[in-house]
């Protein structure tokens, strides 16, 4: 136990998380790419050189050139514009599905862990059922039931992903439940709902946030797979998964049709992954980087 007055360097979590994230080499890298894609998603229509759905029959399956940097597809649509337009869907799905999964999972996990007993058993078993299916298979079944489309696909992914969040939230809740500060709150006469919101939730969230960042990467991939199978947004809306699906037919004569969406997909996944790792490091009190060390730049 360090018996020093004054702020200890360990676990400065809340005051400057963003600054710490930027000080973390991977965090800065991940954040930069993510911000880049978010900007593309929001301002894509202004930035893209062509209308992503406009056909140019004079240049079908044109290779990358000065006029079409990423080439064109079989209908003469500009691949760069379509990749940019597709980032809208990718970013939207990643955030939408993970937010829903997190909200649902955290509520289920905290309630199950806190109340225990029958509530826990019922909630836990229902989550186990979801867990038993392979991720993508369950998502496909759900989309088949719900119908294709951006929101339905996100919802399906959210349902498939919610058990992970529930498990993690439940595990943290179980350890918080036996903590002395919770006993102290009970002794103080704090009501159960207030205890849940004020003491359990804030302390259960940090590991969940790490999981959320990491899940965005796989959620986005899962959506691309659904879209590849034709269960995503309906054409002509550009979408990386469906672009890959279409481009596959021309892979030998026009490889740029699959290369560029793949590059975008991998880059965004990488960003989410690296960012998740960085958030975990920053939130972990035992990770005590004393400021920005120059050798962490990658």
């Amino acid at each position: 136990m360090t018996a020093s007055s004054g702020p200890a360097p360990t676990g400065l979590r809340l005051p400057l998380p963003l600054a710490k994230l930027l000080g973390h080499g991977g965090g800065a890298f991940g954040l930069a790419i993510m911000v880049f894609f978010v900007i593309l998603a929001v301002f894509g229509r202004l930035l893209s050189p062509y209308d992503p759905n406009a056909n140019d029959y004079m240049s079908l399956l044109a290779p990358p050139s000065a006029t079409h940097w990423f080439g064109t597809d079989e209908l003469g649509r500009d691949t760069l514009s379509r990749v940019i337009d597709g980032s809208r869907i990718a970013v939207a799905v990643a955030f939408l599905s993970v937010s829903i999964a997190m909200a649902v999972g955290v509520v289920i996990g905290v309630v199950a862990g806190f109340f225990g007993g029958l509530v826990d058993a019922v909630l836990n078993r229902s989550q186990d059922v979801l867990f038993a299916f392979p991720t993508l298979l369950l998502a496909i079944i759900l989309v088949a039931v719900l119908g294709p489309g951006l929101f339905n696909a996100s919802l399906a992914i959210a349902i498939v992903y919610s058990p992970r969040f529930a498990r993690m939230a439940r595990a943290s809740t179980l350890s918080i439940k036996t903590s002395e500060y919770l006993d102290a709150a009970r002794l103080a006469g704090v009501s159960t709902p207030v205890i849940l919101v004020r003491h359990v939730l804030p302390n259960a969230l940090p590991p969940v946030i790490v999981l959320a960042a990491l899940s965005m990467s796989t959620a986005q991939l899962a959506y691309a797979s659904l879209s590849f199978l034709g269960l995503g947004v309906s054409p002509p809306q550009a979408d990386w998964g469906s672009m890959l699906s279409k481009g596959r037919d021309f892979i030998t004569i026009a490889p740029w049709l699959v290369i560029w969406p793949t590059v975008a997909l991998v880059l965004l996944m990488l960003a989410f992954n690296v960012l998740g790792d960085a958030i975990r490091d920053v939130l972990d009190p035992s990770h005590t980087s004393t400021g920005k060390s120059p050798d962490t730049i990658r």
């Binding site: 007055s5 200890a8 676990g11 006993d183 102290a184 103080a188 009501s191 004020r198």
Partner: protein
């Protein structure tokens, strides 16, 4: 000695708490008697020390007394009224208890300020402006009021402990239970905190219960001492009598385990009397529960459980042979 005839502030009657435990892989659950028929009482403004090895049910007793655990059997009365009366009456009675926890670092929410934690008993009651009371309380326990805006991890161990004491005392409780609350601090700090607690007791008239394995500390600060072994009370006495002449062989053994300040004396004293671990409370030994480790044990102890008997002037002891003129004296010479 307070008068026993009027209703004491706190009265614990035949308190029992059992837990169902299931061993890994086994289907049967067994009964663990953590607290098994404990009775004690406490007067207003008094301190009671509860001593025993780890695993003897001290912490369960503490949690039962403050109302964090419901007893399986028995009653806890404050001012003669049951704290587990259903509804608001029981809830209000349970509010008269506070607790200072073992681990000062873990007893405050790491994500809230110290001030918010200290204010919690007041804010939960609906007191609108608690910040003034928090400042006053922090000053009373010897902390700078500016500490209120810090997070718990920005305080040292001693400061954290003072803050927990402030939180325990802020809503003016009748009884504060200290569950090993000083064990995690270093010796000089322990003395400081104990003195602080005694000063506060004089000022506020709060009653304390000290749960501890440290016999010397408990003896020094309590008016009465209760010794527990495997969920039962084996000796109860006022602390001066107890300090001069503990009767139960277990109490003697505990005393032999306390370190003496004089190294020469300490070295010449020989080994402690107690060997082995506390037996499992799932299958406690027959007869007297202490017989497996007792230097005085005879056949009678294996068969018959000794009841708490008065060995003179309210000094209660549960032993068939304790207080016999010959052997315990022999033993205490060896010990002291």
């Amino acid at each position: 000695m307070p008068d026993d005839r009027t209703a004491p502030l706190l009265q614990v009657e035949n308190l029992k708490r059992q837990f169902q435990v299931r061993q890994r892989g086994s289907r049967e659950s067994q009964l663990l008697r953590a607290v098994d028929g404990v009775s004690l009482h406490l007067e207003a403004g008094e301190s009671l020390g509860v001593v025993g090895e780890s695993g003897c049910g001290k912490s369960t007793l503490a949690r039962l007394i403050v109302g964090l655990l419901k007893p399986t059997e028995g009653r806890i009365l404050i001012d003669g009224q049951d704290i587990w009366t259903p509804g608001a009456a029981g809830r209000d009675r349970r509010r008269k208890f506070q607790m200072v926890f073992q681990n000062p670092a873990g007893s405050m929410n790491p994500r809230r300020t110290v001030g918010a934690s200290v204010a919690e008993p007041l804010t939960a009651k609906g007191v609108p402006n608690a910040s003034e009371a928090v400042e006053r309380m922090l000053e009373l326990v010897g902390l700078d009021p500016s500490m209120a805006s810090r997070k718990p991890h920005q305080l040292s161990g001693g400061q954290q402990q003072r803050a927990s004491i402030a939180r325990a005392l802020i809503a003016d409780p009748a009884i504060v239970v200290h569950d090993e609350s000083i064990a995690s601090l270093d010796i000089s700090l322990q003395a400081q905190i104990l003195n602080l607690l005694l000063d506060l007791q004089k000022d506020l008239g709060t009653s304390y219960i000290f749960i501890s394995h440290d016999l010397a500390a408990v003896q020094a600060i309590s008016h009465r001492v209760v010794v527990m072994y495997l969920g039962e009370v084996v000796e109860a006495s006022d602390s001066t009598t107890f300090a001069q002449r503990p009767l139960h062989p277990y109490s003697l053994a505990l005393r032999s385990a306390t370190l003496l300040p004089d190294p020469v004396h300490e070295r010449g004293r020989g080994d402690t009397l107690l060997r082995g671990d506390v037996p499992s409370p799932i299958n406690p030994p027959s007869g007297c529960r202490f017989h497996t480790r007792c230097p005085l044990a005879k056949d009678l102890c294996l068969q018959q459980k000794p009841a708490l008997r008065d060995a003179g002037s309210g000094h209660l002891v549960a032993c068939h042979y304790a207080g016999d003129t010959t052997r315990p004296l022999e033993m205490s010479e060896e010990v002291v």
